[in-house]
């Protein structure tokens, strides 16, 4: 166990409604929706906040240093703040930074804000621009790649793999149907799993439109507080146990390197003394940019081997009522305002511990929950939360 300077908990969260087009609000107004909801959830006012963290990806909306403009909606005026951006992992990095900044003693109550308004830019163009202009950019197709699908197909055979991916996608949609904030709520039906995939336009190889995450507008705000403040506010806390960030270099290396998902999980579980994550963790909010990656990464995050993760999907273990619920929110395949997305995972995991998830609250007590972020060149950020205060 890593010794923190002091304990930190999530005591409130808020989200705007996620949608493909939030034309009725501008960026600070959309952020304001999330901030107001987070403050109400924590029963605080802006006066209780002493630091505002802000993050997104600038080249989507082409606003440089948008935290300047956004003080109009995020409450940052007169307060401290830091802007952190790490691509898709931005939201998770904000959560790690909030944990660090509160644990450090520099701040007592932090409001972390992630947002994106993908409607205002070109998502795939923006992502393609991450590749090295000399070596990679002409090969990059945004985040659309068929390699994830092909890997699962090669290992488990086309039929089983395709059904597992679409089953995963359908379960996520069943969850999204319960989440009033979710962007895509499609009412997919299990009896048409095969047809739904077959009739969906291919994007890259076996990655089809139905498998891929949405392009969403939305904002998320999460309030982190020190142990002293949790007591003073008589708050309902979800404690931050630990977090781990694992990057890999941008040059695409083909072959069987360890995934950053597995590397992050190994490091985090070793520190937390977790031997059997499926049993010792009650719930997982995973950044699943596509159904195929969801299937593939579940195995790595839970340190499983062979087809164990596939069986979890086939046996309905990952549903809201299942033994190991994954993404009761509907996940990223349902809603993806990129700069907010990874913070939404942390917020959702905290909501499940705090019992505030409403219609998509899982029916069991969540004592320990995990949230992941994905971004950059296959980067992972992993955060562990608990109902009980860490030692």
């Amino acid at each position: 166990m890593k010794r923190k300077n002091r304990n930190v908990a999530i005591i409130g969260s808020g989200m705007s409604r996620f949608s493909s087009h939030r034309e009725e609000v501008n960026q600070p107004e959309m952020i304001h929706e999330a901030v107001v909801e987070a403050l109400e959830d924590a029963n605080l006012t802006l006066d209780d906040i002493d630091c505002v963290l802000h993050g997104n990806m600038e080249l989507f909306e082409m606003v440089h240093q948008p935290d300047m403009w956004h003080v109009l909606g995020d409450g940052g005026w007169g307060k401290s703040g830091v802007r952190l951006t790490t691509g898709g992992t931005t939201g998770a990095t904000l959560a790690c930074a909030a944990d660090n900044l509160v644990a450090s003693g520099l701040h007592d109550v932090i409001l972390a804000i992630g947002f994106e308004k993908l409607q205002e830019g070109h998502t795939t163009g923006g992502i393609t621009n991450m590749a090295d202009p000399l070596w990679g950019r002409s090969l990059q197709t945004g985040a659309l790649t068929g390699l994830g699908a092909q890997k699962v197909i090669d290992e488990f055979g086309e039929e089983r793999a395709r059904i597992a991916a679409m089953k995963y996608r359908t379960i996520m949609d069943e969850h999204a149907m319960k989440n009033i904030k979710a962007h895509r709520r499609l009412r997919l039906e299990r009896q048409y799993i095969k047809e739904t995939a077959d009739n969906s336009p291919p994007l890259a190889g076996e990655l089809r439109m139905i498998h891929m995450c949405s392009q969403s507008d939305g904002a998320c705000a999460v309030i982190f507080a020190s142990e002293e403040k949790v007591k003073a506010f008589k708050a309902n806390p979800a404690w931050v146990v630990d977090h781990e960030t694992v990057h890999r270099e941008e040059t695409m290396i083909f072959g069987s390197q360890k995934s950053t998902q597995r590397a992050a999980a190994e490091k985090l579980f070793a520190r937390a003394g977790i031997k059997n994550p499926r049993k010792e963790i009650d719930l997982f909010e995973m950044y699943d940019p596509s159904a195929w990656w969801g299937v593939d990464w579940l195995r790595d995050f839970l340190l499983l081997e062979g087809d164990e993760a596939l069986k979890m999907i086939e046996n309905d273990e990952i549903t809201i009522e299942g033994a190991f619920p994954v993404n009761p929110s509907g996940g990223v395949v349902a809603s993806n305002p990129i700069g907010a997305t990874a913070l939404v995972r942390v917020a959702e995991a905290a909501m499940q511990i705090r019992g505030t998830a409403g219609n998509h609250q899982v029916p069991k007590t969540v004592r320990r929950a995990m949230a992941s972020g994905f971004g950059g060149t296959l980067w992972t950020v992993l955060m562990l939360l608990s109902k009980e205060k860490p030692e």
């Binding site: 300077n5 802007r83 960030t245 990057h247 040059t251």
Partner: protein, 380 residues
């Protein structure tokens, strides 16, 4: 602070108007190599445990500008987090990752190539909201011009006084091997420069600049392993002002005063006028040196004019590095100020050394007309 954070090593490239032979990875390699050699650290588990980087997607013309430097900062299968603000904010956050107990040793880097943009004003123009302020054509230069006019009106500081500050900056820059603009100028030459945005002449603004900086930060316990000259971060403060320029008092220092108060409270500093052996101010524009000196409280409130006339900058060792006005890219202004403070406290500032320097304050700004301010106090 429960624990202390030490800055154990610092390296900076020479700042230049256009490093055409180097990509940003190359600039970083140069400074990271240096801080590793200074400390003997590697990227193993007991070496550098994580990287905090500072850069900006729009300046780099790259989504996820830290994506191109994962290997250089040693984060392949390791940790890296990017601060997308002035480099002083990077110091702020890097210190927090150590104070929290999460890391013991971190690499802090910053890079920016302003020369990549046809005009850096095109970059900062994008910081204005697309509805009200962007259509007016604002950028950070024109915002600074409004600030300069407001401050000069309030303080009575003249163009001649500002020109003398530029002359002085060049004299100190000539003693700083990392500085960009080292050619001596006369007051008349400074005053003859064409107007960039009234009242800011071309000579009153920081030049287009490329460069990179690296530092090693560590816990008190670990610092002793790599250096016998640790420099301690004893105060950190930061604050945002409002966005619309018309809603702010551009002649004042709302954000900087609060950032300074927070840093001084942490460092237990009662009188900033006498507390520091040297002061490093991010003077992107000449008028900001006295204006921010007021905000920092190193001169009396509203006393910037008198302070200049009294020789305050020389007496209080302000910007012996030459200051930002002699050349640092926008993202690195505050980090370069901290770097200079560290070199001074380590006694490694060469011909510009302040003898026996014990405590310094460094200031960095992000946003239009210094909307977001950061103050870092270091001691040896």
């Amino acid at each position: 602070m429960a624990n202390r954070v030490a800055i154990c090593a610092v390296a900076q490239t020479k700042f230049e108007p256009g490093k055409k032979d180097q990509r940003f990875q190359g600039m970083l390699w140069e400074v990271i190599k240096s801080v590793r050699e200074q400390t003997g650290l590697d990227f193993s588990e007991h070496g550098i445990q994580g990287a905090i980087t500072v850069s900006d997607d729009v300046f780099d013309a790259r989504t996820i500008s830290d994506g191109g430097i994962t290997d250089v900062v040693g984060a392949h299968y390791g940790s890296e987090e990017k601060v997308a603000a002035d480099g002083a904010q990077g110091v702020y956050y890097a210190a927090a990752t150590i104070l929290s107990g999460h890391h013991e040793v971190v690499l802090l880097t910053g890079h920016c190539k302003e020369s990549q943009a046809i005009s850096r004003n095109m970059v900062t123009h994008l910081a204005f909201d697309p509805f009200f302020t962007r259509p007016v054509g604002l950028d950070y230069l024109s915002a600074a011009a409004l600030q300069a006019r407001a401050y000069m009106d309030r303080s009575g500081i003249t163009e001649t006084q500002l020109a003398d500050l530029v002359v002085r900056a060049r004299q100190w820059a000539a003693k700083n091997p990392a500085a960009q603009e080292t050619t001596p100028l006369t007051r008349e030459e400074v005053m003859a420069a064409p107007m960039a945005a009234d009242p800011i002449r071309g000579s009153f603004m920081y030049p287009v600049s490329d460069g990179a900086i690296a530092m090693i930060l560590a816990t008190e316990k670990r610092a002793a392993e790599f250096t016998d000259k640790p420099v301690w971060i004893t105060g950190l403060g930061n604050c945002y002002d409002g966005f619309f320029l018309g809603e702010r008092d551009l002649s004042g220092n709302f954000a900087l005063e609060r950032a300074a108060q927070r840093a001084y409270a942490m460092a237990k500093i009662a009188d900033p006028k006498t507390a520091f052996d040297l002061v490093e101010i991010s003077d992107q524009y000449a008028h900001q040196l006295p204006q921010y000196a007021e905000g920092l409280g190193v001169c009396p409130p509203s006393g910037g004019n008198q302070w200049l006339s009294d020789g305050g900058p020389d007496r209080q060792n302000v910007n012996r590095s030459g200051g930002m006005i002699t050349g640092n890219p926008l993202m690195l202004g505050g980090m370069a100020r901290v770097a200079e403070a560290v070199l001074q406290l380590r006694g490694e500032a060469g011909a510009r050394q302040v003898a026996g320097a014990k405590r310094a304050v460094a200031q960095g700004a992000t946003g239009p007309a210094g909307q977001c301010q950061t103050v870092v106090i270091v001691e040896n």
